[in-house]
């Protein structure tokens, strides 16, 4: 790292052919590939949207208020992440550790919401094998959930590192790279929440087919 051609308010210039930090560039390259990965699954969901011939259908099963809360939780975890990076960079160890821990907690709460939702759906009769909605829904949200799980484990290690002093302001790039991953998981959920939950929530059974779930 260095050739400190940097002024007080600019990032240091790296001694690489691009002038960019290679690890950070690698994370952006990974995120770029992940954009296409999720893009394909979201497109697949949209292609098969409204084509299930048997229920349960989105209008019968999606719980918008519950998912809104979990979306809010994930959004706030992104705020906690950026604050954690700020404090670690500033050398404020305790605050940095606390905010990273909050990211872990909020991420775990989001996972809890997703686990609860999957369990409820299975209870209502929707599994990946039930219909095309179930298949595309569980694959997309399941892969996103796997990303969140990896992120939570990664953040837990970083929180421990910050606590014992191995994560400091001089190697805060470790946290910055993990943060890029975490924020990416958040922006993917922003799209999933809009496309799958808000836009598709009104999708009911095809014309002439009655409801499959009768709520009490």
């Amino acid at each position: 790292m260095t050739q400190a051609a940097a002024t007080e308010h600019h990032e240091p210039v790296e001694n690489t052919s691009t002038g960019l930090n290679s690890r950070k560039l690698m994370m952006w390259a990974f995120l770029a590939s992940d954009v296409m990965f999720f893009g394909v699954f979201i497109a697949t969901y949209l292609v098969y949207r409204g084509k299930s011939l048997v229920g349960p259908y989105p209008s019968e099963i999606l719980d918008i208020p519950l998912t809104s809360v979990s979306t809010f939780v994930l959004l706030m975890s992104s705020l906690a992440m950026v604050l954690a990076l700020h404090y670690v960079k500033a050398g404020e160890k305790n605050k940095g550790t606390l905010w990273i821990l909050l990211v872990v907690v909020l991420g775990a709460i989001f996972m809890g919401f997703q686990f609860y939702e999957f369990r409820e759906f299975a209870h209502e009769g929707l599994t990946p094998r039930t219909n095309i909605f179930g298949t595309t829904f569980f694959i997309l949200t399941g892969i996103h959930g796997a990303h969140v799980t990896i992120g939570v484990i990664w953040m837990a290690f970083l929180a421990y590192g910050s606590h014992v002093g191995s994560l400091r302001s001089d190697n805060s790039l470790d946290l910055e790279i993990a943060g890029l991953y975490w924020h990416f998981v958040d922006i993917v959920w922003i799209v999933i929440f809009t496309v799958i939950y808000l836009i598709s929530a009104a999708d009911g059974p095809p014309a002439g087919v009655g409801p499959t779930i009768i709520h009490g």
């Binding site: 308010h9 600019h10 952006w28 959004l75 992104s78 922003i190």
Partner: protein
Amino acid sequence: MANLWQKLTQHDGNGWWNLPHGPSNELNPPYEGPIGGAWFGNLWRTLTHGNVSHAGVGFYWLVGLVLAIITLLEVWLFTVEGLGGWFIPILLFLSVIKFVGVVAYFMHLRFDNLMFTYFFASAMIIGILIFSLLLVIMKYGNQPVLF
């Protein structure tokens, strides 16, 4: 209360939001209250210029608040009847604002080297092209029999 007003209307070098300095590192004007032109100018500069250092805690809270309000707005829109064909475009527009907010400020693209922005924007364009092609092919191609 007086303390809050003081915080809102005064600063010690870099504004209440602790916004980054401009690209030319010019000194901040002495007044950066919420209704001042200078304060607005500084906020606008932060929103539109990259390659300045990361923003401060107050600014991140502000971005977080805006994102939370937009999420609430989306959920409220879900309950509003009579939006008709406007419902999906409005939701997509709000979703794009949230997306850009997180990428630009939380992922620091606005404050980082412009190369990262080009890199991610290129991936987004390719991703959207794949996305659109898949939708078009499946719309006009032969679709498989579904179960």
